[in-house]
């Protein structure tokens, strides 16, 4: 994952370049962290904030990590503002055949059902490519704890999503 990270040297690039380069990753992180319905708003708030601060970002900053940090703060704010959380259901979402869009929707639901810390650790490390130390700085706790939460999240996702035959109640109980 780290090979995908590239240092960017300037806060003086046209902001359009930032949107083009990082828009997709930030959208995936938002979908994973706040769910597909609230993701568009989270993306817009993140980039609007980033645009405001862009001229004063120190040169040499890791722009992707900076954007993910803003997205994280926006998600925390939205949560504190009592935006409803995704409610876990006892019924697993149906796999919608072979259509790309259908199984993608499934995945977002599965990610949305992970406990908050696991969900964020999976999003920030596996989707955004942040090193575990930076993930830990965002979600709180130690690097090892972040790593564990991420591993637990991925394991839960595999169970629910890759092995849909497995009884869902068992999977959920194992986590508790």
């Amino acid at each position: 994952m780290d090979v995908l990270r590239h240092p960017e040297s300037t806060g003086r690039e046209p902001f359009e370049v930032v949107v083009a380069r990082h828009g997709a990753v930030v959208l995936r992180v938002c979908r994973a962290v706040v769910g597909p319905d609230a993701a568009d708003d989270a993306w817009s708030e993140t980039f609007l904030s980033a645009l405001r601060a862009w001229p004063s970002l120190p040169p040499g900053s890791d722009v992707r990590a900076w954007l993910v940090t803003i997205a994280h703060r926006k998600a925390v704010d939205a949560h504190r503002a009592a935006v409803r959380r995704p409610t876990p259901t006892d019924v697993l979402p149906e796999r919608g055949g072979d259509l790309l869009g259908d199984w993608r929707a499934d995945l977002w639901e599965a990610v949305g059902e992970l406990p908050g810390k696991q969900r964020r650790c999976v999003a920030y490390h596996h989707l955004a490519g942040l090193p575990w130390a930076e993930v830990a700085a965002l979600v709180g706790g130690s690097e090892a704890a972040a790593r564990r939460a991420g591993a637990d999240g991925v394991r839960a996702l595999r169970r629910r999503w890759f092995e849909q035959e497995a009884p869902s109640t068992t999977a959920r109980e194992e986590e508790r």
Binding site: M1, G11, R12, E13, P14, F15, E16, V17, V19, G23, A24, L27, R28, D40, W43, S44, F47, L48, L51, R52, W54, P55, L100, G101, W103, R104, L107, H126, L127, V154, L157, F162
Partner: protein, 201 residues
């Protein structure tokens, strides 16, 4: 993990979603006074033009051969890095340019932001619109227009670095022998603009 990522990357419709979100971002940036430089491109008979505007007015017109990415980078450094593709602010000038290339407009009346032309270059840029549509002037004549008759070479430099070609008509400045001479958009574009104006004018 790579399987997870692969599925996520499969993103049907993600590009469409991102295009919609980017449009929304540009609108909100404009509403909240964060859109320091808006830009769009326009296809014309002399190639694709980049149009960039600040809140004060049109700040840059650039030909393909100037490298649009490089021009945007330069705008980020010289004006502000808050640069977004945002067509709305450039609608008026794009409409006037379309009319100009269609032969139904002989002058532009959109607000101009001349901050990229300083000192003597700015005097030249301000003098150029006095050369009427369909007419031409020599570098010597433009030097006289600016009140610095000896500054013929500097007029040449100022024309070559005109930040607003087409709209500010540096293409109407030709050599004393009447041949077109050099142009920021290439000699062919200059000939083409002069021919367009000759037909209409």
């Amino acid at each position: 993990m790579s399987a997870t990522r692969e599925r996520l990357d499969g993103a049907a419709g993600e590009e469409a979603a991102l295009a919609r979100l980017a449009d929304g971002l540009a609108r909100r940036a404009e509403d909240e006074d964060l859109l320091d430089v808006a830009y769009r491109t326009l296809d014309t008979p002399v190639g694709t033009l980049l149009l960039a505007g600040t809140v004060a007015g049109l700040v840059r017109v650039a030909y393909d051969c100037e490298d649009h990415d490089a021009v945007l980078q330069s705008l980020a450094e010289r004006v502000s890095p808050r640069v977004l593709r945002a067509p709305a602010r450039l609608d008026a000038v794009a409409g006037e340019l379309e009319e100009y290339f269609a032969g139904t407009r002989t002058a532009f009346d959109v607000p101009l932001d001349l901050r990229l032309a300083a000192g003597f270059r700015r005097s030249v840029v301000e003098a150029l619109p006095r050369i009427a549509f369909g007419a031409t002037a020599s570098y010597t004549q433009v030097a006289a227009l600016t009140g610095s008759p000896g500054a013929v070479r500097a007029v040449g430099t100022a024309c070559a670095r005109n930040p607003l070609p087409v709209v500010v008509p540096c293409h109407r400045v030709v050599r004393s022998d009447g041949s077109p001479g050099q142009y920021v958009g290439g000699a062919a574009a200059k000939v083409s603009l002069l021919a367009l104006e000759a037909r209409r004018g």
